[in-house]
């Protein structure tokens, strides 16, 4: 027999009161904490989000404080997370319509966000940012068509980080700017031979997508065409991988199991372990390499083809204004301050790469010390070797970076030939780009 309970007629039952109270408690703050951009004290409240770690947090807070001092009517709230988490969060915020006024974006995501009209055009209108202090070619990296959707917030360039202490001990000279890939081969084999096979000359660059980009640029080919397709063929990739395989097989480049660890960051990679004497990386990572390594490290430009290094001024990150920001003018002022003002440069230090504004960069470089000075000097010397900055990579670039690692593993572990692997890469990469 089933009991049939009907709705209780008693109006003030304790449990029902509890249920109502719970609902009310949930609904109350609805009115209590209204939307955050209200300005009870007459101040404009901006939000600014970026990625990084605690040390960058300190630097960024200091730069924001300097901005608030100059603009007492603006209050900036900052939020940050680490890179992967930040990008997930930003994607959700943008889809849900709640991103910060000023957002730091990765170059790889720029075209994707620009195409969905979430980034304000900073070349005209209320959110105009003066970028005349920047190298025009470098500033153009933030352009999508004619719109300036982002302003670079730090410059980096490709380099080879070399362990000078180890080379001195082995009696191998440090490579010089203008060296070729053949020189690299000789150098790396020397290191391997003189260290008794303990140290490879270089960490195998075959899994590094941007290393392949420079390899192509040296041969006059772009990684991507202007409309976001590949600027190279299967044979170009097979050529790169064949070269790397030669290096690896002779012991000049690291073995597969060591090469794999490159993704975990400077502290755990072959250079820090003493298993390689040189490694491809961006110069903005140099400080981290120094922190992870007891030896003296120096920066050397990439090996060349007909004098071309294939290096270029790359934005390590960019600043954008959210298209739905309620305060585009103030947001643009913050962006301008962060990329051109010397007070911002002082506060930010080198935690994001070279400062965008050229005049301020020079002042900063002149007074730099330690690892910062090495990077500043390297960039100053490398300036004449740089190719033009290509336009922002198409959507899917981040996936290609991991695809490159995965497919090259097949080659370096000896499961596939460079030819077969490059065919397989082109096929999978094509699908990613078409999405």
């Amino acid at each position: 027999m089933r009991l049939r309970h009907t709705a209780a007629p008693r109006p003030a039952h304790p449990l029902r009161t509890l249920a109502v109270a719970t609902t009310l408690a949930c609904a109350l703050p609805l009115t209590a904490c209204g939307s955050g951009s209200g300005s009870s004290d007459g101040k404009v409240k901006l939000s600014f989000s970026w990625w990084g770690d605690a040390s960058r947090a300190k630097a960024t807070e200091a730069a924001v404080a300097a901005f608030e001092k100059v603009h007492p009517n603006i209050e900036v709230g900052t939020q940050y997370a680490t890179f992967a988490a930040y990008n997930q969060k930003l994607a959700t915020q943008i889809a849900g319509g709640g991103a910060s006024d000023v957002i730091q974006i990765d170059w790889g995501n720029q075209s994707q966000y620009a195409q969905s009209h979430t980034l304000l055009d900073l070349s005209s209108g209320p959110g105009k940012v003066d970028v005349s202090g920047l190298d025009p070619k470098f500033a153009a990296s933030g352009k999508e068509g004619s719109d300036q959707v982002a302003v670079p917030f730090g410059q980096t360039a490709q380099s080879i980080v070399v362990d000078e202490t180890r080379l001195d001990a082995l009696g191998v000279p440090v490579p010089k700017a203008g060296w070729t890939w053949e020189d690299l081969q000789t150098f790396a084999q020397q290191v391997h031979a003189r260290s008794g096979g303990k140290t490879a000359g270089i960490t195998d660059p075959g899994s590094t997508w941007p290393a392949f980009q420079s390899w192509l640029l040296q041969r006059g080919k772009p990684l991507y065409t202007a409309d976001g397709a590949f600027g190279f063929t299967k044979d170009d990739l097979a050529g790169f991988w064949t070269f790397c395989t030669q290096l690896r097989k002779s012991g000049a480049a690291t073995a597969a199991n060591l090469t794999e660890t490159v993704v975990s960051g400077p502290a755990e990679d072959p250079l820090a372990k003493g298993a390689a004497a040189a490694e491809w990386d961006y110069d903005s990572i140099y400080t981290s390499h120094v922190a992870a390594n007891k030896d003296k490290l120096v920066l050397v430009p990439l090996p060349t083809v007909n004098g071309r290094t294939g290096m270029y001024a790359k934005p390590s990150m960019l600043l954008s204004v959210y298209a739905r920001s309620k305060h585009p003018k103030e947001a643009a002022e913050l962006v301008s301050f962060l990329v051109t003002d010397s007070r911002a440069a002082t506060a930010l230090g080198s935690s994001r790469g070279l400062f965008p504004d050229l005049v301020v960069r020079q002042q900063q470089g002149a007074s730099a010390t330690g690892a910062d000075k090495v990077v500043a000097d390297y960039e100053a010397a490398a300036d004449s070797l740089l190719s033009a900055t290509p336009s922002a990579p198409p959507k899917g670039d981040a996936q290609l970076i991991t695809l490159m690692q995965r497919v090259y593993d097949e080659v370096s572990f000896g499961r596939q030939s460079p030819q077969d692997a490059s065919a397989s890469f082109m096929q999978q990469a094509g699908q990613i780009l078409e999405q």
Binding site: M1, R2, L3, R4, H5, A8, R10, H13, P14, L15, R16, L18, A19, T22, T23, A25, C26, P29, L30, C33, G34, S35, G36, S47, S49, G52, D53, A54, S55, A57, K58, E61, G77, Q79, Y80, A81, T82, F83, A84, A85, Q88, K89, T92, Q93, A95, G96, G97, G98, G265, P266, A267, E268, A272, K273, S284, I285, T287, S288, A291, A292
Partner: protein
């Protein structure tokens, strides 16, 4: 959770030589110990690493430190500018405690309705409720974010806590419904004859008998909220509102040095509440299972 100790069938001593049995027991224990070491290795590594100096972490493979240091704990505690890890712990505890309370109150009410009351559309609603378990979280996050944004709840604990009070955790409802269905209806009937309405029947009869399910839900609700990273990451913006999982993630820097020592030290601390919570409640769980009052 008890360690399996296989016993040979109780045979008279004369038939089973004690030395053979002992060898087997010893072998079995060795095997269990070996498996335990493998399973616990990451925890041991984490504990050891939390006492290692920074230089030793990447250079040595040994799980315990050569040179002991306790620096990682204060370093991790004060790693972020302007806020200590204590704040993250307080925030995590608040969110987790409220989530547990909300889940228990709302899910038990909902489960009672589904298992005992008859109302129009019950089976359809029950099916819909169960179907929400199947929805992947990433499908829900964007519309949810848009709703909470409209409500002005972003950067507060409300998006993390308020839904728990509205019985949105279908899994726990399902668990409790299944449990309540196992409670004989005769007990309700007896209560009804004694003059209990549906509310009192719930509060004084069904709820106490559901204790094991409530405790299971409390444990899982606590663990899931304590360990949840993505929801908390998306809804909390200010550093002083961050919870432990977000605080821990700040140690991982993609481009630079990951501060493993402080991160492991804080991870050890982050595990403590979970461990204690489980320790406190699993006794109740066993207790509840054996004393549910369902005697013939």
């Amino acid at each position: 959770m008890s360690e399996p100790t296989p016993r040979a069938a109780p045979a008279p001593a004369a038939f089973a030589p004690p030395s053979g049995r002992r060898t087997r027991t010893v072998l079995w224990h060795l095997l269990v110990a070996a498996v335990l070491v493998v399973v616990l290795y990451p925890v041991i590594w984490m504990l050891g690493t939390s006492f290692k100096p920074a230089t030793e972490i990447v250079t040595s493979d040994r799980p315990w430190p050569l040179h002991w240091t306790s620096h990682n704990f204060p370093d991790g505690w004060h790693a972020d500018p302007g806020v200590t890890f204590g704040r993250f712990f307080a925030n995590s505890l608040t969110v987790s405690a409220l989530a547990v309370a909300g889940t228990l109150v709302s899910c038990s009410l909902a489960a009672y309705a589904f298992s005992r009351l008859e109302f129009r559309g019950r089976s359809v609603m029950f099916a819909a409720m169960v179907a929400t378990i199947l929805l992947p979280y990433h499908v829900l996050i964007v519309p949810q974010y848009a709703i909470f944004k409209k409500l002005g709840w972003i950067n507060t604990d409300l998006p993390l806590v308020a839904p728990k009070f509205l019985a949105t955790e279908a899994f726990f409802i399902f668990l409790m419904v299944q449990f309540m269905r196992g409670i004989p209806r005769e007990i309700d009937e007896a209560a009804r004859l004694d003059g209990c309405g549906p509310y009192r029947t719930f509060l004084f009869v069904v709820l106490p008998l559901t204790r094991p399910a409530l405790i299971t839900s409390a444990i899982f609700s606590f663990l899931w909220t304590w360990n949840d990273f993505f929801t908390q990451l998306v809804y909390l913006n200010d550093t002083d509102k961050f919870t432990v999982p977000i605080g821990l993630s700040l140690f991982v820097d993609q481009t630079g040095m990951t501060s493993y020592g402080p991160m492991m030290a804080m991870s050890v601390l982050a595990l403590l509440p979970v461990f204690l919570f489980f320790l406190a409640f699993q006794r109740l769980l066993v207790d509840g299972a054996t004393s549910s009052g369902l005697k013939g």
